[in-house]
């Protein structure tokens, strides 16, 4: 069996632990406790000193995107085995993975998964939830397990891989796909509220106005207040129509 695969299986319990490593998130050391917990666990499994940690060393500040933490673990193991000082790159990679992960997972993947789920909901509402969980977690679990493999395989040169697959652009691609499906959702919404009349100009006008108002106000007002203001306006319209 491939040497790296053997390590992957040996590290499996640590990788499963990595799902929970953010639980002590705090403003003192951010994810530091969790990362130290994972490193100590990995260190014990491979019987090797990992990074600047001793058994009693307090957890340092550490913060990255949670879906990328196993890349760091793989990298630490690889560099420790080859006697390199990985700590030098710890903060660099933590920041960089934070930037890449926040853009892709938090900014772009959530809206894309959401719009895809909405389309699934059209056919079978019950499947929407399962689709959401499965689609998002393919990336989540994929990054968690593949991340360790790749982090170990490439060591501190793992960024080459991200460069090769143009990872920094994935966010833009996902956003464009989200907008495409947003357009689709828009059309369906108009069809729904125009009561089966295929081209209802009043419905198109109304929805377009709401869309533009949302676009403009989001520059100045945050989402909850936009929602509250929208709900008040909609209530007023409803009451006026009722009179």
């Amino acid at each position: 069996m491939d040497n790296i695969m053997k390590r992957l299986f040996k590290a499996l319990p640590t990788l499963i632990r990595s799902i929970f490593y953010q639980a002590n998130w705090n403003i003192e050391n951010m994810q530091g406790t969790g990362f130290s917990w994972l490193l100590k666990d990995l260190s014990k499994r491979f019987n090797i000193g990992l990074g600047n940690i001793g058994s009693n060393k307090r957890a340092d500040y550490f913060n990255t995107n949670p879906y990328f933490v196993t890349f760091m673990l793989g990298m630490f193991l690889k560099e420790a085995e080859s006697g390199q000082a990985v700590d030098e790159y710890k903060s660099t990679y933590a920041s960089v993975f934070g930037a890449l992960g926040d853009s892709f997972f938090w900014h772009s993947l959530r809206p894309l998964t959401f719009f895809l789920s909405l389309f699934i909901a059209l056919y079978e509402p019950m499947f929407a939830m399962f689709f959401y969980l499965i689609f998002f977690n393919i990336f989540n679990i994929g990054f968690k397990f593949l991340g360790f493999y790749l982090g170990y395989n490439y060591g501190t040169n793992v960024i080459d891989l991200f460069r090769t697959v143009s990872f920094a652009n994935w966010s833009d691609i996902a956003d464009m796909a989200s907008i495409f499906f947003m357009g689709g959702t828009f059309a369906l919404a108009i069809k729904y509220i125009s009561n089966s009349d295929p081209i209802n100009s009043v419905a198109i006008f109304k929805t377009a106005i709401f869309f533009i108002v949302g676009f403009v106000t989001s520059k100045y007002i945050n989402a909850p207040f936009t929602l509250i203001a929208g709900a008040i306006i909609v209530t007023a319209i409803m009451l006026l129509q009722n009179i």
Binding site: N26, S178, F180, G183, L188, A223, T226, T235
Partner: protein, 222 residues
């Protein structure tokens, strides 16, 4: 509400809060929580629509650095529970009132999340001061973090929902209308879609092209 449904809500509120803090497997997304509640109480369509509306609150924020996101999971949970337990009627204005109240309640609920993080900080400072930092203490801190998040979800989500429930239940009678609110919920959904359109990356012109192409494709195909 049956005992099984009650147990499900107990665990759902706890796990949603837990997922936000420590797991990130998206069980806490409003559309997921609302769907689960919708399936349980046989109210799937309206629950999905409510979940979709509150989903935007989370999508329009990114948890960078020390930013703690507004608790949209609570919003999805609470609104779906309210409609499932009959605090608000389907053909009733109170559904919009519920949206307003739930959205306002997001702020104090998020505050409890902030206090949970402060509690984590307190725990870690104590461990530092007592010079207890080994694998066992890290593991203990992680477990405490998970437990506190779970308890926060169970207590805070349900308490806040109960408060809104009592408010709405008393005024529900006065706000009955014959107009279906679904139409207006769709309008709200589109309003928030406008916000998201700005939020997503890309040049405005290119975004518009994608929007129109998506619109046309959906219009023709579906």
């Amino acid at each position: 509400m049956s005992l099984q449904q009650g147990i499900l809500l107990f665990f759902l509120s706890g796990f949603a809060s837990l997922d936000r803090v420590g797991i990130n497997m998206m069980l806490s997304r409003p559309i997921v929580i609302s769907s689960i509640i919708g399936i349980t109480f046989d109210q799937i369509l309206i629950c999905i629509l409510l979940g979709a509306i509150f989903e935007f609150i989370g999508m329009l924020e990114v948890p960078v650095g020390t930013v703690i996101l507004k608790d949209d999971s609570f919003a999805g949970y609470s609104s779906s529970v309210l409609i499932s337990l009959g605090a608000i009627s389907h053909n009733n204005l109170s559904i919009l009132l519920a949206i307003i109240l739930v959205t306002l309640m997001i702020y104090p609920v998020t505050l409890t999340d902030i206090y949970c993080r402060k509690f984590n900080k307190l725990m870690i400072t104590r461990a530092f001061n007592e010079n207890k930092s080994n694998e066992n203490s890290d593991s203990f801190l992680i477990r405490i973090g998970l437990l506190v998040s779970f308890i926060r979800g169970v207590i805070i989500y349900n308490l806040a929902t109960l408060l809104i429930f009592l408010t709405l239940y008393n005024i529900d009678y006065f706000t009955k209308t014959e107009v279906s609110p679904i139409y207006y919920l769709v309008l709200l959904f589109i309003l928030l879609m406008g916000c998201l359109f700005r939020f997503l990356n890309g040049e405005l012109f290119i975004k518009l092209i994608f929007l129109v192409v998506g619109f046309a494709a959906s219009w023709i195909i579906l």
